[in-house]
Amino acid sequence: MTEKKLAIIATKGTLDWAYPPFILASTASALGYETEIFFTFYGLQLLKKDLNLQVSSLGNPGMPMPMPVPVILQALPGMQSMMTMMMKQKMKSKGVASVEELRELCVEAEVRLVACQMTVDLFEFDTKDFIDGIEYGGAATFFEFAGQSDICMYI
């Protein structure tokens, strides 16, 4: 049986959106898929050694809140870190893995992690801030794998 292939493009750099690429990639690996994640634009935040991912209810009316908070108050200083802290506590209490843990599982499972070179240049990221073992490439690099993939998703 030839190995199935999953290609993911991760474009978002918030705590909540860090989950889908790492959950799907780690699970796909457990199911025997060869998996690659291409990180571009804000998705590159997910490759930092020190993850400082935040979540915001601003512009996200679908986010369940313990109590209704008017949008104008959600913009106050400190609200984003409070939301992030509450979300992390909630996740921990429900046995949801941390992003760090899921990412580590992806690394262990040899998920290929590719950082978009253009974004690194654009935002002047220091590659020393990224975890070890990642590759750098462009759109053509992505298609080399994505073109043979069975599943390809944009997150």
Partner: protein, 76 residues
């Protein structure tokens, strides 16, 4: 009660951790050995069925006892 070779308690863990831990445990086992998995994630019932179908490991049984889900899986 059926016999098993290894046991994995994934209680309190949520998707996808029970599957990932099971996969890791199975990797250290011999073909034909049986893994007993305990989980509290209700989603794990469907997920272990799907895991078995896709990996070829056989799901011998799946059940619930006292709010916990219990699975017996035979390594392919």
């Amino acid at each position: 009660m059926a016999d098993f070779d290894r046991e994995l308690d994934a209680s309190g863990l949520n998707c996808p951790l029970p599957i990932l831990r099971a996969k890791k445990t199975l990797a250290d086992m011999e073909s034909g050995q049986i893994l007993h998995i305990i989980a509290t994630d209700p989603g794990s019932v469907k997920d272990f069925e799907a895991f078995a179908k896709q990996t070829g490991n056989e799901l011998l049984s799946s059940g619930e006892e006292g709010g916990k889900f219990s699975f017996m899986m035979k390594k392919s």
